[in-house]
Symmetry: C2
Subunit: 250 residues, 2 copies
């Protein structure tokens, strides 16, 4: 058989709380408060195709890993939970695959105005979406499934505390007007320890060149410090000022 | 955001027991004996990427619906289980989608020689495969999921019996040499009633122009008749002779 070239176009883009790859959970559902809005492209007139989706609780999002920076595909990858171990790419959900297609089941919160509001998302803001499918329990929920190396690996590595400055800032933002629980979202995200494998969960191996980290969440650069297995949220910086100061697009 | 054009190449092709769309189950797992072999393209040197997959029981196959014949996308579709009702394409797993990408979880039977042997498959023979991912229970098995219109819809419509001629033929083929249980596979496939919606499960609406049906399974055209809710397998014809006689490729 002669391999074809297959051409697709995004049908939607995801707006999410995560501004960059760093900080974005590596699986859906791990940060239940992580929110996203999947906006269908208005020029495609797809609104009618959503009819009936409201009866489902969860949605498969088939998407492009559009922020991959590596060029050449490597057959083996280092998933964070293997702490340095290597494994075949097809035995992982790594973004680094021959075809950089991602697959995440997220919770449907609301469907309105040609968009699906979801939670538990693990997509970076701006992700192009290729397809949307209902999660069909009779086919997709496989009770007897075994999870290979992903079983018995912890998903949460860090305890998270907040400085008074961070708490005051979060408090001042309030919860009105549809705002989510930002404190819970920060906690859920940092418990997963988004740092690179090398520094993760290995006591005494904190990065000597960088004692604080930051990740982009909604309109903020969330700055935190890690000591052993404890993460402390120090402050929330304004994302656009932060991004400008390092010469990145906002 | 400007929509991009995304280009992919198949990484593998699926060899399966189903020769045509007609007869192929509409979801994975419905015919547990349905078998397939997902062969990685040898020129891509992907064997190492399979390492570690053997620890998982199930595999996501992301594939192309390559046998779609419709040209224009329609926002609403008629899923067989809705018996004539219409619903939005994104609320279904229909092949007819803006991007004709399919998603099926299948059972891993064996991994050897750059190929994955699977069961419970719902892909037509020759299907191009875009990606393979392990089924990760902690992310993919969603206990609380609600299945919208797919709940409380039966998946099995017909009782299946076999003529003596069909039984003799199946018996004569034997079970040795890795041959699967062909009788079970035929039964599982026909119980699902692969006929078009119009004739399906509606007493008195049998197709007046065609009293027998046939579907391509392994090397056979399986010929059967439907009376009410009972399907009778009449005979197994040689597939290549059958396909030749109607001027189709084998």
């Amino acid at each position: 058989m002669t391999p074809q070239t297959l051409t697709f176009e995004p049908i939607a883009y995801a707006e999410t709380c995560y501004r960059e790859r760093f900080g974005t959970p590596r699986q859906p559902g791990l940060a239940p408060d992580a929110w996203g809005v999947i906006r269908l492209r208005p020029d495609l007139n797809l609104t009618d195709a959503l009819e009936g989706l409201e009866g489902f609780s969860h949605l498969w999002v088939v998407f492009l890993f559009h922020r991959n920076t590596n060029k050449a595909f490597k057959a083996k990858v280092h998933p964070p939970r293997l702490e340095g171990g290597k494994i075949g790419a097809f035995a992982t959900r790594s973004p680094h695959r021959p075809n950089p297609i991602g697959l995440s089941a997220v919770k449907i919160e609301e469907i309105a105005d040609n968009a699906i509001h979801v939670s538990g998302i693990d997509l970076v803001d701006g992700t192009p979406v290729l397809d949307l499918k209902p999660y069909v329990p009779s086919a997709d929920r496989i009770e007897a499934a075994r999870g290979g190396w992903t079983e018995s690996r912890p998903e949460r590595f860090l305890d998270v505390t907040f400085s008074d400055e961070a708490l005051d800032r979060i408090e001042s933002l309030g919860r009105g007007n549809g705002r989510r629980d930002l404190k819970a979202l920060i906690r859920q995200t940092l418990e997963l320890d988004p740092r690179p494998v090398f520094y993760k969960g290995v006591p005494g191996r904190e990065n000597p060149y960088m004692d604080t980290y930051g990740f982009g969440l909604e309109g903020f650069n969330v700055v935190y410090r890690v000591d052993g297995r404890c993460a402390t949220v120090l402050r929330l910086e304004n994302w656009s000022e932060f991004a400008e100061s390092r010469g990145q697009r906002t």
